[in-house]
């Protein structure tokens, strides 16, 4: 299983882009109101910082992934503890993505189809690609789907240009206060911070030492696109309206009308967006099953797919409603725990300890 740099780039860009645009705009807009675009900018910076830390971290031991090098750096037991923290993250994120995704599909496309069916179709696809292709199969898929998803986002932005009402941009800086902007930036930052999974992917690269630019560019492109899309949402729908809708980006695409012929593009946009969820879930399913297999020292990681996939489907039904699935998980686990600990704290800790150890070894 070997990954090329371009594949890693698209994987990370797609993983960050799709869900961030959909899931984090409403909380960001609610917190920072008119200054939500500054929150996005800040979020992009945080995400880049996360990407840089991860990229530096994997360079310490280029041939190892997180499971291996955390034990190399921290020792056997502390290392296993670190891995446990990440395993919790991975095992909870898959059901949540599945649930958020099926809520969205149900609301926008298939109001009469049960969630379980929507989820089963998606999990079948994810299992198919992970089982048959492994990480490089996912890489090849994202290489083809990535450009399509990115161009979908930019086409929606482009077609929305004639819906722009410039007065909505004013005031450019509403002085909602630093804390509000910061609060608004946390949800998107935590979604863009998915790039931290690069610590699991890097060792599969053809040339792990040269992989970091691709990861950082992936985050950069995703952050830039989400920033642009956020500004467009504010410009076309205004803050008041979009902070009250679940999916402001699709609301924007609904307004598109070209030549009075191409209208209501949201359904098509949803379908393309589904592909980004597919990539994200596949990467996570791979990381989870591969990581678990390494952690428990099971030789054939593919076998774990049969265990993880059904469990994730079952867990996806735990949240009672849309707001619990989207906001509850985000506000009670992802932002307060994953962002500071899993995405920044632990990688930084590993980086510092690893550096010190390597230096001591040299000396």
């Amino acid at each position: 299983m070997k990954l090329s740099g371009i594949q890693a780039f698209w994987m990370i860009a797609v993983m960050d882009l799709g869900m961030t645009i959909l899931m984090t705009y409403t909380p960001a807009l609610q917190a920072a109101q008119q200054d939500a675009w500054m929150s996005m900018l800040l979020a992009g910076c945080i995400a880049l910082l996360i990407a840089v830390i991860s990229a530096k971290l994997v360079l310490l031991y280029p041939q190892q992934n997180l499971i291996e090098f955390s034990q190399t750096i921290m020792g056997k037991w502390l290392g296993k503890l670190v891995v446990m923290v990440y395993l919790v993250q991975w095992y909870t994120i898959i059901p949540i993505i599945l649930r958020q995704f099926s809520d969205l599909i149900q609301i926008l496309l298939l109001p009469f189809t049960p969630k379980s069916v929507i989820i089963s179709v998606m999990i079948l696809l994810v299992v198919y690609v992970t089982y048959s292709g492994g990480i490089d199969g996912i890489g090849r898929c994202s290489e083809i789907l990535g450009p399509i998803i990115l161009s979908m986002v930019f086409l929606v932005l482009l077609f929305s240009v004639n819906n722009i009402q410039w007065h909505r941009m004013l005031p450019v800086y509403a002085d909602s206060g630093v804390s509000a902007i910061l609060r608004g930036s946390l949800p998107p930052a935590s979604y863009l911070g998915h790039a931290v999974e690069f610590v699991m992917l890097s060792s599969f690269l053809n040339n792990p030492r040269n992989g970091s630019p691709y990861a950082i560019w992936g985050v950069g492109i995703a952050s830039f696109s989400t920033l642009l899309a956020m500004m467009m949402v504010i410009l076309t729908s205004g803050v008041n309206l979009s902070s009250r809708t679940w999916y402001p980006f699709f609301e924007m695409s609904k307004k598109i009308a070209i030549f009075e012929f191409i209208e209501n593009l949201d359904a098509l946009a949803v379908v393309i967006w589904v592909t980004s969820v597919f990539i994200k879930l596949s990467v996570y399913l791979f990381i989870t099953s591969y990581g678990t297999a390494q952690f428990l020292q099971i030789r054939n990681w593919r076998r774990l797919i049969w265990f993880i996939a059904p469990i994730s489907v079952a867990f996806a039904f735990i949240p009672q409603n849309v707001s619990e699935a989207t906001a509850g998980y985000l506000n009670h686990y992802w932002v307060p725990v994953v962002l500071p600990v899993n995405m920044i704290g632990l990688p930084l800790l590993l980086l510092i300890v690893g550096k010190v150890r390597l230096r001591r070894k040299k000396a």
Partner: protein
């Protein structure tokens, strides 16, 4: 699934009929020294073969001998003038006895270039079946096989499946020797290698592997040879027999082996570092390894203006996509998301659909299947009748069905557009695969709407990115991405740019690991 296991499993399931000669004779029994014995054995082996000729003659006035051949397989003029006449002329006996009698005959009496001394019965039978003349003399355990085969082949003509407006109007024929010559005429260098193999336990069909030394990957050549040697069929009637056995992913409908009837197309593939497999008796040559884009390229793309060729390629990609997805999109949009259709058009569609009693999915499935049936009928029937079929198809099924209110007019438009779109795909096997894949997609669309179409397309994509043709990824150079190769996929780059690319098709991973 590992290819080795696959070939093995297919091998055992192959029905085999035992060759009675091979069973009776063992491996290779020597010829008898006595002419009478040999003659009796031959007559027994070829009993009830009325087209076999056994002609008695005397060699050097004294030695009795026979020539055995199938009279319709040999060239009568050559037989008379170059074989029988010199034998009859009976030059005086040469003194030396160092070489055997047959060697003497070979060097003194037979002025035909291709002769071979044989000494066992199996060879003798094989030679006679191939159309050679076998000469047997008394008191000699050797025989002489003389090649005076009649050249039975049609004239070179333009292949009907791959016609071009500009470019050589010549195609492969059923004779492998002539096909090899056609390739040699295109590529005049000793680096063009042609290795011969015999495939088919009974038919011993000649197969030639052509490749450019230095350009083709040695791993691919070795793999092709390995897979060829594992074929255990009795008879090869067409190259398709071999194609189905040596291909990767036998359970995929997509053609991972490209076929062509055009020598220039085969030559171009050779120069790109691919391996061309020629099979005797078939005008269709096979090219490996290939990727999916090959199916959307024609050799004429390189003979026309590169801007127009690029346009044509995009047209093909677009219509291939239309052919694959249009019916399912129609089902999904009209049943689940009618708001995607502009309002006025939606009104028209709704009005047209009103008298129709079926759901859209049933309606479109009926018409698509009817269309496939008409197409199949048109191909199999004699040409004059085929035209009648198309008239009946258009008038009855198209017009009357709409007027009777069984199907709606938009469906007829969709189905015919899909049909035309599938004709744009130059590769017939690819066109078949895409036509086939339409149906599952339609079902997905009928159940899950646009989400189903999306899921179906993703499943198809997963299948395609994992497919390999002799170690080369099927979706390459798009996935895995290769900047050099993409020039010939996103368009047809002009020659001054294209010649700079690395023209090599190497497998992306070790073939033995497959």
């Amino acid at each position: 699934m590992p290819i080795k296991k696959m070939i093995a499993s297919r091998k055992t399931k192959m029905p085999m009929f035992e060759d009675p000669d091979a069973a009776a004779e063992g491996a290779a029994k020597p010829l008898s020294g006595s002419l009478a014995d040999n003659e009796a054995w031959l007559k027994h082996t070829f009993s009830n073969c009325s087209d076999l000729t056994v002609r008695k003659l005397h060699l050097r006035h004294s030695v009795p001998g026979i020539v055995v051949y199938f009279k319709e397989l040999v060239d009568a003029r050559q037989l008379d003038e170059e074989l029988l006449e010199p034998l009859m002329r009976q030059r005086p006996e040469r003194g030396d006895n160092d070489i055997s009698f047959m060697e003497q005959i070979k060097s003194d009496l037979v002025p035909v270039a291709l002769t071979q001394i044989i000494d066992n019965k199996k060879d003798a039978v094989a030679r006679i079946i191939k159309g050679e003349v076998v000469l047997i003399a008394d008191n000699s355990a050797q025989a002489l096989a003389i090649n005076v085969k009649s050249t039975m082949h049609r004239a070179l003509s333009e292949p009907s499946t791959e016609s071009v407006i500009r470019g050589p109007k010549i195609g492969f024929i059923e004779n492998i020797g002539i096909n090899q010559a056609l390739l040699r005429r295109n590529i005049r260098t000793p680096r063009l290698k042609m290795e011969q193999m015999l495939v088919g336990k009974v038919s011993q069909t000649e197969v030639a592997l052509a490749y450019m030394e230095g350009a083709a990957s040695p791993a691919v050549i070795a793999e092709v040879k390995k897979r060829m040697s594992q074929i255990e069929l009795d008879t090869i009637l067409e190259s398709a027999f071999i194609e189905e056995i040596i291909r990767d992913a036998a359970y995929s409908p997509f053609p991972v082996i490209h076929v062509t009837e055009r020598p220039d197309s085969a030559a171009a593939s050779l120069l790109e570092g691919r391996v061309v497999i020629l099979v005797d008796g078939s005008p269709v040559s096979m090219i490996v390894p290939v990727n999916i884009w090959h199916a959307f390229q024609t050799v004429e793309d390189y003979y026309t203006n590169y801007i127009f060729a690029t346009f044509l390629r995009w047209l093909r990609y677009f219509f291939a996509f239309i052919s694959l997805t249009l019916p399912s999109f129609y089902v999904a949009v009209s049943e689940f998301n009618p708001e995607l259709i502009p309002t006025t058009l939606a009104m028209t569609l709704a009005a047209a659909r009103e008298p129709v009693p079926f759901p859209t999915l049933i309606e479109i499935l009926m018409m698509e299947i009817a269309f496939e049936a008409i197409r199949e009928a048109g191909i199999r029937l004699p040409r004059p009748v085929g035209q009648t079929i198309s008239i009946v198809g258009v008038l009855v099924i198209g017009q009357a069905a709409v007027q009777a209110g069984i199907v709606s007019a938009p469906i007829v438009i969709i189905v015919s557009l899909t049909g035309i779109a599938s004709f744009l795909i130059p590769n017939y096997n690819m066109s078949q695969a895409i036509r086939l894949m339409r149906f599952p997609l339609m079902l997905c669309a009928g159940i899950f709407g646009l989400y189903g179409v999306g899921a179906g397309l993703i499943a198809l994509l997963i299948h395609l990115v994992n497919l390999r043709s002799f170690g080369v990824y099927y979706m390459a150079p798009l996935a895995p991405f290769d900047r050099d190769g993409i020039k010939d996929v996103l368009g047809r780059a002009p020659w001054w740019i294209m010649q700079k690319r690395k023209n090599r098709v190497w497998p992306t991973q070790e073939l033995s690991k497959q």
